[in-house]
Symmetry: C2
Subunit: 209 residues, 2 copies
């Protein structure tokens, strides 16, 4: 589908992506209808196909839109720091803020959609998994920069740290939403911080545990 030509069409498309991201995050992909998305945007169903050829095409565009929302919240925060140790701590703080600020009404868009779709739509599963892999690569690249800068131990397992950080943050999102206790992030992040600190060379004199 070509990029919409008029400013109005582009604005409508952007509104549909925003509404669909929120609906999918709360109700799920299968339970959300094209009518639901159009109604939430204050439009009638007929206009949908001027923007997307199918609900699945909408979902593919929504994954990209949600990734931009995620990056605006987390990557932007991480990149406001220049030093690898500070960047890694910003990953934890940034994800907590992404959760607590309810960037998505239903929690983490990617956790929710992946959990729903991983056995049911392989194309969307792969697209969603690409986003988790990008998250892992962000952590891994910070670890590698830190090793190059001599602030993380040369034998620190960057790949495993990346998996642990992403798994713990997404699992904590699930637990926090399930229990309605955002303080689960304080507990998880304190121990993740402790682990990250253990890979630092010349760690600060009072590591937060």
């Amino acid at each position: 589908m070509p990029v919409p030509k008029t400013a109005k069409a582009r604005a409508t498309r952007a509104r549909l992506l925003g509404e669909a991201a929120q609906l999918f995050s709360v109700k799920g992909y299968f339970a959300t209808t094209v009518e639901d998305v159009m109604a939430k945007a204050g439009l009638t169903k007929g206009g949908f196909y001027a923007h997307f050829e199918s609900k699945e095409a909408l979902a593919r565009a929504v994954v990209e839109h949600a990734a931009e929302m995620w990056a605006a919240k987390i990557v932007a925060h991480v990149m406001s720091f220049g030093e690898p140790r500070a960047q890694l701590h910003a990953v934890l703080d940034g994800y907590r803020a992404y959760a607590v600020d309810r960037t998505f009404e239903g929690g983490c868009f990617f956790v929710n959609l992946s959990t729903e779709l991983d056995d049911q739509n392989d194309d969307l599963r792969r697209l969603l998994d690409d986003r988790f892999e990008q998250f892992r690569l962000l952590v891994m690249s910070i670890m590698e920069s830190g090793k190059a800068a001599g602030v993380f131990a040369p034998d620190a397992p960057s790949d495993a740290v990346a998996t642990l950080v992403v798994a713990t943050l997404t699992g904590t999102m699930m637990l926090a939403k399930s229990s309605r206790r955002w303080e689960r992030f304080d507990e998880s992040n304190a121990l993740l911080t402790r682990m990250i600190t253990s890979f630092e060379i010349d760690p600060p004199s009072s590591p937060s545990t």
Copy 2:
């Protein structure tokens, strides 16, 4: 609903619980119909209400049934060890086996249902969250036994360790299913083991990192 009186009725009820647990884990709660459950058990829809008064009543019983399946896989493995450090490592191994053996076709029943329902059905959210809390309490009680036995440091934060372990294992399940890579558990569990070992008093001479 009273306990079924005949052996045949009890067997049918147990079969419905087993089929529903698998269907809910793959398709989700809302997308699974009473007809789906009955058809998978080789029965017609009409008989359902002899066993459950509603789909939600079925779901409540399925949560209990799934918790028994979870405990048979994980708690039984943990309790086969008597020593707190070994028990804690058995939590990690046991959860990995629970995942890799596909105890539930759709991954973790509790992760999937909680992610779907946490904003949509508060009664079921609470029932599911009780199971995560039981999981946290299992880890916390092992930590406390270990402190009492002098094998974990007295100031080890049992509550935070419990949150971290449960969040990391459930998040790793999500990542492993999304990426089709069970080796994500090797990465997460190696670092969880490293963290647990750091709370041990007189740790073994070659901690696995």
